[in-house]
Symmetry: C2
């Protein structure tokens, strides 16, 4: 694991996706690893941290999640714009070599039998909470975050550092058809009673 990757306490894991980035979803089953992009991922709870992600029935990754009961949500960076777009628009059903073709690199984390995508800014390892009705009726999957990590060049001390980091680290926010916005300026509201 890259020396810049640091554990994030579970109680702060929601912060990794609270600002609404487009994410990469990865999963492994029976010797197959896959990664897809998903704009429809969202925090669901603080403690234990949970999240939702929409996985269409047409995706290969969905089957891997259903079969293994686990997945990783990771936050790709502006430097991964093209990779994110390609992972989100090409299915492994059509392109069995999609990871190699698009240059996605995977790494391992000891104790987790899951594929982690290199070069991202944050990773949330999740255990699927089986909810068959949601999965079937809405393509909606719920995960409990069991561990989280972030690259300390852009997330440190429990806070994103987008305003101090290289712009290549900015998160991606997909609108439609390959059109994204990068995250922008930090804005701080005044907290009454907090001085």
């Amino acid at each position: 694991m890259d020396r810049h990757i640091s554990p994030v306490p579970l109680e702060k894991a929601y912060r990794l996706i609270n600002h609404g980035p487009t994410v990469l979803v990865s999963a492994r089953h029976d010797g197959t690893d896959n990664v897809m992009a998903a704009a429809w991922a969202c925090a669901l709870d603080f403690a234990p941290p949970k999240l939702t992600v929409v996985l269409d029935k047409s995706t290969k990754t969905r089957g891997l999640v259903e079969q293994s009961g686990a997945f990783v949500i990771q936050v790709p960076t502006a430097a991964q714009l093209q990779l994110t777009h390609e992972l989100g628009t090409t299915t492994m059903f059509d392109a069995p070599d999609k990871l190699e073709r698009f240059g996605a690199t995977l790494f391992q984390v000891e104790g987790y039998d899951l594929p982690f995508v290199g070069g991202c800014s944050a990773w949330l390892a999740c255990r699927l909470i089986s909810e068959p009705h949601n999965q079937q009726a809405y393509d909606l999957f719920i995960g409990e975050v069991v561990a989280a990590w972030a690259d300390n060049r852009v997330f440190k001390g429990g806070h994103w550092q987008f305003e101090h980091a290289d712009p290549a680290w900015r998160s991606l926010h997909h609108v439609a058809g390959g059109h994204f916005y990068a995250i922008g300026e930090a804005l701080h509201a005044s907290n009454d009673g907090e001085g």
Copy 2:
């Protein structure tokens, strides 16, 4: 209704929240209107458009949604940073006058018995799809978007115009404790085969 507010076709309504903004949730029941902020809102489907939003049991708005079966998701702007923070941290249970106190202005749309928050960039009128297990176990509410509008100074022709509009129109993306990021630079991936 302000002359800048234009209908958004339902098939493009998901684009209003696809980039993960923090939203305002408003609802009305039995003469009471309320508005809260929510970072945990997410698109769920394209057609008919659906979305999810997490509404904690401690919020007044949740009860209004449950009782009326309807709500509005709206996208606040950087100009509404302080308003968004205050609507998200003060409950009407403690401050019955919270809307007046924080200066939230509501407007009506003919044909919809719902409170719409003025000054936002986009509005999605939703019908609650009752899912008692999700609501009780996860505080997770599913809505079908029945109509949508946007301010044409920042969303036009089916596309956000953040890169061309006044920075005051940027969407807000909450991290934690009143710390937000505004949406930033537009980035476009290359579409293979699309030239």
